[in-house]
């Protein structure tokens, strides 16, 4: 029944092979992948690991188990389980296959014991996830997927270069602490940073996630960025730069999220904001902060997944998720509304919900380190999260003005998946020790003390007050049908525009050059026999040029 030393990704890859064959109700069999895989992992983790693969002259460590990788391993099994239930009704086998492969690649990366294995799964993550965006099959989604895949592969090649350089410097590929020193480390850092949506590298996320299929976004939100967080925690813990990057990541998305109309894009921004808390925690690097970072990653997958699921349900039933055109959906989608509220409460870190128990760890760790300014930035960000994710999402989707839409309640399997997510959110919030027991580092933190709970409640109520007041005064940015572009402007506007200009200049230069050449040639032609034409001449002329170049080379070589 249980197989020790079976790398978890194998289970998913094997099931992915069968996915196209399973139709209708049989698709439920796919659920066996995360269930059996997760149980297998839980039963055999103690005496597993050290599975190797001889690859050229290197030995790859495919299955490296410690408490950190185990935590992410369990998390990804849960996420895959929820996502599979959520997508049971999907008939498009492209999505089923790529979803399973994608989850498997994430597991492969998390249990990798060396950098090359990490890179291999890093690339697979990029390729498999792109199909989840393509599968939407709208022109915008296809274009977004193309941009997405190019950026992801860019991250891959940077990582590959970094890994090769590191290998040549140190002679080992072991996945361990690297530290930000030297070109190799920087290359790896930037590669991780791209997938982790560092500021200025984040555009692929906000660009592509809102355009994926409803189920695709759920997968996407769970894996790519969390793998990057896991790797950051392994390779760059305690890197001070990460504190500031993290703080920036928590703050800047808020402004974009508040004015954004596409509610899934709002969630994408809030995903970056939550990642900021984790990056910050990794930057602090104490046991408490790292525990907080990974615990928050754990919770974020579940509550952000829950929110994406509710928006996916709305998207499935209504056909769009524009805040300006929604509202009043609570009448016909009551259960989805409740699940959305649970997710919103968790992401806003209400006491007794999961976000509270992990976010406070990062905040407490910052205070321990006397990082007051960063702490204040994170506090501001917490209030902002409540605004855009905690209030804006449920308010504009399910309440606000009645849009007259009367969609059906979400399909049963979607409801089931959302229920599981919601239950997990509350369970972890009420019994944080269940999660704390899994944390990799020594942990004696307790979230429910008087000051902490009160501070958080005050923060939440005052920001709720602010929202109500701003809304009543008409100062709150209204939901407008608009497309907001941030840093992507560089490559979606500036680059094509300047690229076109460069190309035009070159084309002009070339035609001018040709004209001049023609004039000169005409003059020659008048003096001598007419220029012969045709492919033969062109080729011969080309050869003659090459010959002259070669002779120059000969002379150069002889002289030097």
């Amino acid at each position: 029944m249980w197989i020790a030393n079976l790398p978890p990704f194998v289970v998913f890859f094997v099931f992915a092979l069968f996915a196209p064959v399973l139709k209708g109700r049989l698709r439920a069999l796919l659920l066996l992948a995360p269930v059996w895989g997760g149980l297998n992992l839980a039963m055999t983790a103690a005496d597993s690991g050290g599975v190797t693969w001889q690859f050229t002259d290197l030995i790859l460590d495919l299955y490296y188990v410690d408490r950190l990788s185990l935590l992410f391993g369990y998390l990804f099994h849960i996420a895959a389980f929820i996502a599979l239930i959520y997508s049971l009704h999907v008939k498009d086998s492209v999505q089923q296959v790529s979803g399973l492969l994608y989850a498997g690649s994430a597991l492969g990366a998390v249990f990798a014991g060396d950098m090359l294995t990490v890179f291999i799964f890093w690339e697979l993550l990029a390729v498999t996830s792109a199909f989840l965006i393509w599968a939407r099959r709208t022109p915008e989604a296809i274009r977004a997927a193309n941009r997405y895949v190019v950026i992801q592969v860019l991250s891959g090649v940077l990582m590959l270069t970094g890994v090769v350089m590191l290998y040549q410097q140190t002679g080992t590929l072991r996945l361990a602490y690297i530290g930000l020193e030297g070109t190799a480390a920087w290359l790896i850092f930037i590669a991780l940073g791209i997938k982790c949506a560092f500021p200025f590298f984040h555009t692929w996320l906000t660009d592509a996630y809102p355009l994926a299929t409803p189920t695709g976004t759920l997968y996407l939100s769970a894996f790519t960025t969390k793998v990057a967080i896991y790797l950051l925690a392994r390779t760059f813990p305690g890197e001070p730069l990460l504190i500031y990057i993290g703080a920036a990541m928590t703050c800047f998305p808020i402004f974009y999220a508040v004015i954004e109309n596409d509610l899934r894009k709002v969630l994408a921004y809030s995903l970056i904001n939550q990642l900021g808390f984790m990056v910050c925690g990794i930057g602090v690097g104490t046991a408490l902060a790292l525990n907080g970072a990974v615990a928050h990653a754990f919770n974020d997958v579940i509550f952000k997944g829950l929110l994406f699921m509710t928006m996916g349900a709305v998207l499935t039933r209504v056909g769009h998720v524009n805040g300006s055109d929604l509202g009043g959906l609570y009448k016909t989608m009551p259960r989805t509304t409740v699940f959305c509220l649970v997710g919103a409460a968790s992401i806003s870190a209400f006491p007794l919900f999961s976000g509270f128990v992990s976010k406070s760890m990062v905040m407490a760790a910052l205070l321990e380190q006397d990082q007051l300014i960063v702490w204040l930035m994170l506090l501001f960000a917490s209030a902002g999260v409540f605004h855009h994710a905690g209030i804006k999402i449920p308010f504009f989707a399910f309440f606000a003005h009645d849009s007259g839409l009367r969609p059906k309640e979400a399909p049963l399997n979607m409801q089931l998946a959302m229920a599981i997510g919601a239950i997990l959110c509350i369970a972890i919030g009420v019994h944080p020790e269940w999660l704390y027991g899994l944390l990799p580092w020594q942990n004696d933190y307790s979230p429910y003390d008087m000051t902490h709970t009160l501070t958080q409640l005050q923060l939440l109520f005052f920001s709720a007050l602010a929202f109500v007041w701003l809304n009543k005064q008409g100062l709150y940015p209204p939901e407008l049908r608009s497309v907001n572009i941030d840093v992507e402007w560089f490559y979606r506007r500036l680059l094509p525009a300047s690229g076109n200009r460069v190309v035009n200049t070159l084309v002009n230069a070339r035609s001018a050059f040709r004209q001049n050449v023609r004039i000169i040639a005409d003059q020659f032609a008048r003096r001598s026999t007419p220029m012969p034409t045709g492919t033969v001449t062109i080729l011969t002329r080309r050869m003659a040029w090459v010959f002259i170049a070669l002779m120059l080379l000969v002379i150069g070589s002889l002289l030097l």
């Binding site: 690859f55 390729v127 592969v153 860019l154 090649v157 590959l160 080729l539 090459v546 010959f547 070669l550």
Partner: protein, 499 residues
């Protein structure tokens, strides 16, 4: 074992005129198949014999080497021979149906005869240890491949073939002149002999001229960057089977000869002091970038793949130019891996053409639904072309990157990385068109009357998937390809095959 060596050349030499004389298309195909199978088995046996580092010498007609012609087989050319024969076999299997549609019935037996002659020429180039003999085989293979390309179904095939003829003849002439100069300097045509007495005449200006003439001739045959212009047209217009065969073998053999000349005829210390390595690096890097850039712009799948070949040849040239053992390993292993990958992709393109009568991506939108297996081959082959881990292409990229970083050559690293990102763009372009664009109604007027647009090609699909499986197999188990490449690179760097 040694005696079998010559069979590799003799079998097609006997069979080709037979094929032409019997003039029956079924016999022609059967004979080609037999030749392919027989030579493949022999080549495999040879490779098994030499993979450990042993070198086989075979004296043709019993004449002693410096005067007579000898065949020298080491790990490098045994690997090349295996590539050539394997693809001869596969493309004959693949071409059974498509050739009958693309080539006129009256020419079929001549087509197969010419095909066997190309095989003969390529094998001869791979095996011989005599540089003039090499030129003869080069001409045999070139002349017959012009004929093969000219048999393409469109009239443009004639122009493409003519262009190739001009370029190829120029290349061969350069090569011949180079040999002449070298002969004038050294007084011998045996490669080992030239190399062993090199110190006696290496100061002559004639020698460096000879080197450059030989180099330019081979670069033309290998379609290295500025001399690649014949390749896209030739590959696009040739019958599918010819494209498959030439794309996976002919340029590889030219690269092989280039390596052989640079390491076994001219000593490595001699040319590495010249500007030559940087020249090769420059040509390779520009080729990678230019080829990928042009590939992105193409609409015809065949043409796109042809330009990607130019880019991939850049990888091989860079591997030579880096001038270290890892780089050479990368080149040799990429010869093998790229042959598999491109073979699979061109086969898929050939099947698309056979069934849809077009290779224009524009008209193939949404074909993923009607031809799931063929388009699946495009996906996996494309991934290998990009160099995604787990496919054969990754092995070459990994070694090439290591070699570039060993020399701290960041320019090469950068162009390699940019080229792989561009590779993903052109591969994605195919995948996107096949799977995700709205479905295009096929234009029926493009299909000759009386032909079914969607006709099965079981044998061709089998061949294609054999190669696709090989793309993955050699990405995971590298014993065969990499061991041969490493043995070859080591012996090349040790300075010539042991006598």
């Amino acid at each position: 074992m040694e005696a079998y060596t010559v069979l590799l050349v003799v079998i097609p030499l006997i069979s080709a005129p037979l094929t032409a004389l019997i003039a029956n298309r079924h016999v022609a195909w059967g004979l080609s198949l037999l030749v392919g199978a027989a030579t493949f088995v022999i080549a495999l046996m040879l490779l098994q014999d030499v993979i450990t580092g042993r070198v086989i010498h075979y004296e043709l007609g019993g004449w002693k080497p410096p005067w007579g012609i000898e065949y020298v087989i080491d790990a490098l050319n045994a690997l090349v021979a295996v590539i050539v024969t394997a693809f001869a076999l596969l493309s004959v299997l693949f071409g059974r149906q498509s050739v009958e549609r693309e080539v006129h019935d009256s020419q079929l037996h001549l087509f197969y005869a010419a095909f066997q002659l190309v095989l003969l020429g390529l094998l001869g180039m791979a095996l011989t240890g005599d540089i003039f003999n090499l030129f003869v085989f080069l001409e045999i293979s070139s002349l017959s491949s012009y004929a093969l390309i000219a048999m393409g179904h469109k009239r443009q095939a004639l122009v493409a073939s003519f262009n190739y003829l001009i370029a190829g003849t120029l290349g061969a002439t350069f090569f011949l002149l180079g040999i002449g100069f070298l002969y004038a300097a050294s007084g011998t045509l045996n490669m080992a002999d030239i190399a062993s007495r090199f110190e006696q005449y290496d100061a002559m200006a004639l020698v460096i001229t000879a080197l450059l003439f030989i180099l330019i001739g081979l670069a033309l045959k290998a379609a290295a960057f500025p001399l690649h212009s014949w390749l896209p047209d030739a590959y696009t217009q040739a019958p599918s089977m010819v494209t498959v065969f030439l794309a996976s073998t002919s340029t590889k053999v030219a690269v092989y000869v280039l390596i052989r000349c640079l390491y076994h005829v001219f000593p490595q210390e001699y040319w590495s002091q010249l500007l030559l390595p940087s020249f090769l690096l420059l040509s390779g890097c520009l080729g990678m970038l230019y080829g990928s850039y042009k590939a992105i712009q193409q609409d015809s799948i065949k043409r796109l793949l042809a330009y990607s070949s130019v880019a991939q040849l850049g990888y091989m040239i860079v591997g030579i130019g880096l001038n270290n053992e890892t780089g050479l390993t990368a080149t040799v292993v990429h010869m093998f891996n790229h042959a598999i990958t491109k073979g699979a992709l061109f086969m898929a393109a050939g099947m698309v053409f056979y069934r849809m009568h077009t290779t224009s991506l524009h008209q193939l939108r949404g074909a993923g639904k009607t031809m799931p297996w063929t388009t699946g081959a495009f996906v996996i082959g494309g991934l290998s072309l990009i160099g995604v881990p787990g496919t054969a292409g990754f092995i070459s990229k990994w070694y090439l990157l290591q070699a570039a970083l060993e020399n701290n050559n960041y320019l090469v690293v950068a162009s390699l990385l940019i080229a792989s990102i561009m590779a993903i763009m052109y591969v994605w372009k195919i995948i996107e068109a096949l799977y995700f664009d709205g479905e295009e109604k096929l234009h029926l007027h493009q299909v000759p009357s009386g032909q079914d647009i969607v006709a099965a090609m079981p044998l061709a699909t089998l061949c294609c998937y054999l190669l696709v499986a090989a793309c993955i197999y050699f990405g995971l188990y590298t014993d065969l390809s990499l061991d041969a490449a490493k043995t070859a690179a080591q012996s090349l760097f040790a300075g010539g095959p042991a006598r």
